[in-house]
Amino acid sequence: MTRPAQTRPRSTARGGRQARRGTAPALDVDRLIDDDRTRIVVCCGSGGVGKTTSAAAIALRAAERGRRVCVLTIDPARRLAQSMGLTELDNTPRPVDGIDTSAGGSLDAMMLDMKRTFDDVVEAHASPEKAQQILQNPFYVALSSSFAGTQEYMAMERLGQLHAEGRWDLIVVDTPPSRSALDFLDAPERLSSMLDGRFIRLMLAPAKGPARFLTAGFGVVTAALNKVIGAQILTDMQTFIAAFDTLFGGFRQRAEATYALLQAEETAFLVVAVPDDAPMREAAYFVERLEADEMPLAGLVVNRCHDERAAGITAADAESASPRLASGSATDQLTSDLLAVHADRVRLAAREGRVRRRFAAAHGDVATAVVPALSADVHDLDGLRTIAEHLTAPR
């Protein structure tokens, strides 16, 4: 495999100082996935922008270009999942059928099962007796199965595990549609600060005995907790935290290791968006946040774009011509309708163009790939291949 000088994901994103204001340098996805030093690609972005589809398309393309790929999806559309053979959510990567393996690559896919991931961690790191105790605690059941935030922790946990397995040379990750879509970056930090917090130590104090925690504040705090949440729930909570104590350290360590892995040169972040105000604003926020966290940003993928210059007729010309044909022959009337469709499309494209140029004005050096709007939804491998071709087509 030939390796051009600029193959680092970081330099792909930040190589374009010469870029004109308002136009972004092109993102070369093929170069990114062909570089065998790229080991992890993370697709992030707000909800509904086609993150999962982008992740699947990139994974498929990389596999057919010869890499051994695993794609970790969080919540794929039913038919997209089916197209990759993901009929059950069993947390295990399964080979995807129908892949062209002539280049020596392979594709496995899995859907995240957050409770299963959590249970596995507990069982792997606690004695059978203690694991049982934790798995049955009502706090654990609630935490592992239904509460917001857990998905982010578990997605990172699973990524760390898959990476450690070493069976794949590229892992493509789709991120959870969280409140703030970068919650997964905060997970390790939150966990650490929490576990070092006085509260956890306070909760552990009765289990550990010594009265050294009985400081002035202690009485007030337990009294307040008792008053607000009641003695029974406090006891359940204490049991849970005490039982979990040994696990917490391991969790934190692995969360920190995963965070470091995300920062490493072998990782590439792709921010996914659609050319509309809110998603592009979110994309700008992601870009800034990734930079602040020193995460290797590879570029921006803008899905569902329309072409401003299509057919070489402006919206204004189409709009003024359309009524003049409306009362003519059958073909004139059809052409009139077609011009109305065209005007609508070009207006939309112009608006998208404005939104994209606004982003580029502030983040002009972020390499960008554009995927045109397709008239049908994607739900088979051929559809994914088409997306990938657009994604990697030179502009």
């Binding site: 609630a142 504040g217 949440i229 003519g328």
Partner: protein, 324 residues
């Protein structure tokens, strides 16, 4: 106990325009001189961005320019930590202890790690605002209706049902009572959960799944709001001609030349027309799936020029039937 303030909970898959619909609904509800509270609970400052105003603090304040017919829309970004401290002060008069809890990291723990507490606090704040009385201590801030820009469809049943889980965890005590009261309010006649979608496969599927989940949790479903509907720009004759593929590209080229447009564009225009037709068919298919749910449905047009205050008023008019 008297009935609480009418509560409209607006959910929808990401990218479907949930915040826009919530804001337009708040405006619609305020049209007859009503005072309406528009809350967001995800800490993303989407209301401020929509109205192009500075980030909202944890404080109910009127949004300039929303007063129509003497009505007023107030906005509030509910913050879990502030809500917890306020809650402790309000219900338990825990001034000093509240601070001690904060110092010990309890507030932090409760709002970030402790299972479900964040959602409990967010729904709890809405509950507090909904049960205010004109003769109560917060009589200045009694609303005629509350609109919540809620978490997305995939999470909504869990978000609204969190108090059931908590009521299950806490078998007795004040938390149990509070959680039970919140669930009672959410399941009452006064509450409606609206689902925003666009006519694409995945959002529609999520909407149908969401309706099932909400029904299973006995949460009251209001309207399905179908957002960003693209009007058909092709007459029946044009659609039929494109369908039958009987159109002669050269004839279209002649028509184009007649109005001094480049005839070379004919094939591109036909392709665009066919793609448009295909999208309209997909839209119709998805729309009939929604119709099959038997729920009340309102349609909102796609606005080619984006959303500003004027556009919100137009959308508010289209949502009028949801205010009845």
């Amino acid at each position: 106990m008297a009935l609480s303030t009418p509560l409209h909970i607006v959910t929808g898959k990401g990218g479907t325009g949930k915040t826009t619909v919530a804001a337009a609904l708040a405006i619609a509800l305020s049209s007859d001189g009503g005072r309406v509270l528009l809350c967001e609970v995800e800490g993303r400052q989407q209301i401020a961005q929509l109205f192009d105003i500075p980030p909202l603090p944890y404080e109910e304040r009127p949004i300039a320019g929303t007063g129509r017919g003497g009505g007023e829309v107030y906005a509030l970004a509910v913050d879990a930590e502030a809500a917890l401290l306020e809650y402790l002060a309000m219900y338990y008069r825990l001034g000093r202890a509240g601070k001690a809890l904060d110092r010990f990291g309890v507030i932090d723990f409760a709002t970030t790690i402790a299972p479900g507490v964040r959602d409990v606090l967010l729904t709890g704040k809405v509950y507090e605002a909904a049960r205010r009385r004109t003769d109560g201590p917060e009589s200045d801030f009694v609303y005629d209706a509350i609109v919540v820009d809620a978490p997305p469809t995939g999470r909504i049943a869990r978000f609204l049902g969190v108090n059931d889980d908590v009521a299950g965890l806490a078998k007795v005590g004040p938390v149990k009572n509070q959680a039970t009261s919140i669930m009672t309010m959410l399941r009452s006649e006064q509450t409606r959960v609206h689902l925003v979608t666009v006519l694409e496969e995945m959002p529609v599927q999520e909407t149908i799944d969401g309706i099932e989940e909400l029904s299973a949790a006995s949460l009251p479903i209001g309207h399905i709001v179908v957002n960003m509907v693209r009007p058909s720009l092709l007459s029946e004759e044009s659609a039929a001609a494109l369908d039958a593929a009987t159109v002669d590209v050269d004839e279209v080229a002649v028509s184009l030349a007649r109005v001094s447009l480049p005839s070379a564009a004919a094939q591109d225009l036909l392709d665009e027309g066919t793609a448009h037709l295909e999208r309209q068919r997909l839209q119709d298919e998805q729309d009939s799936l929604l119709a099959a749910t038997g729920r009340d449905i309102v349609h909102l047009p796609r606005l080619a020029d984006g959303i500003d205050l004027g556009a919100l008023y137009d959308l508010a008019d289209d949502l009028e039937e949801m205010t009845r």
